[in-house]
């Protein structure tokens, strides 16, 4: 084999490795983003959402989380792990409390730290209507995502409390 052919093969191998790394890294990021979008959809509610639909959504939302899943919200003194059934109950409570609200994630930054662990920094935006009229709200979240059996699941949610009233 000529030296030109060897060089070509080496370059091709390097390109394939780099391409593979980029493909798999971006596909992990895409899967995590897709799960965030699904979570936002399951948490969102319309005014006349049928009860069956609500129950289906909270079950699906809990399935996106690990067993157990850690939740930290200092403002309402939550700082512990929840089982899947507890997560289902929490999602149900959330939807009951915000019955006509759209959840969405913005400014999402994902860092896949290792092959099975990723950290997400994102802004959760709520837009809806309550008895006082329309409202919008936003929270900064740190989320840990773990890859289990090929699926990226949320293992930790922390609301970043960087403002002191």
């Amino acid at each position: 084999m000529s030296s030109m052919s060897k060089l070509f093969l080496l370059l091709l191998t390097v390109l394939l490795v780099i391409g593979g790394v980029i493909f798999f890294w971006s596909s992990d990021e895409k899967k995590i983003k897709a799960n965030l979008a699904s979570l936002a959809e399951y948490c969102s509610s319309t005014k006349r959402e049928p009860v069956v639909e609500t129950l289906k959504k909270v079950t699906q939302a809990a399935k996106l989380c690990t067993d157990p899943c850690f939740v930290k919200i200092d403002s309402i003194n939550i700082d512990h792990e929840f089982s899947p059934s507890e997560m289902t109950d929490r999602f149900l409570m959330l939807k009951k409390r915000l019955p006509d609200t759209v959840f969405s994630f913005h400014d999402t930054f994902i860092e896949v730290a290792t092959g099975n662990l990723a950290e997400v920094i994102t802004t959760l935006r709520l837009k809806g209507e309550n008895i006082d009229g329309q409202f919008t709200d936003a929270y900064e979240l740190n989320i840990v995502v773990e890859k289990r059996d090929g699926d990226w699941l949320f293992s930790s949610f922390s609301v970043v409390e960087f403002m002191k009233k």
Partner: protein, 81 residues
């Protein structure tokens, strides 16, 4: 990323009385506020290196609305009017 209005600087005192914003004891006119609140918040002095930020949309309870003193290091930019 959150979008908030800076209402008080380091060293200033900020408080809410029946939804009215007072900075250094003076009521601030806020024509930009949507959905006025009835928030009550005792006076507090803004720490050095921090600013006090509040959103314009104040239709939610004060315990649910994210506002308060924030380190200036966390500010990434301003908004052009």
């Amino acid at each position: 990323m959150l979008l908030k209005r800076v209402v008080a600087l380091a060293g200033e005192t900020v408080e809410f009385r029946e939804g009215g914003l007072y900075v250094n004891g003076i009521l601030i006119e806020e024509p930009y506020v949507r959905h006025r609140s009835d928030w009550q918040l005792p006076p507090r002095r803004v720490s050095p290196g921090h600013v006090y930020v509040v959103g314009d949309n104040r239709g939610t309870d004060s315990d649910r609305h994210q506002f308060g003193e924030v380190n200036m290091n966390r500010i990434v930019g301003g908004v052009f009017p």
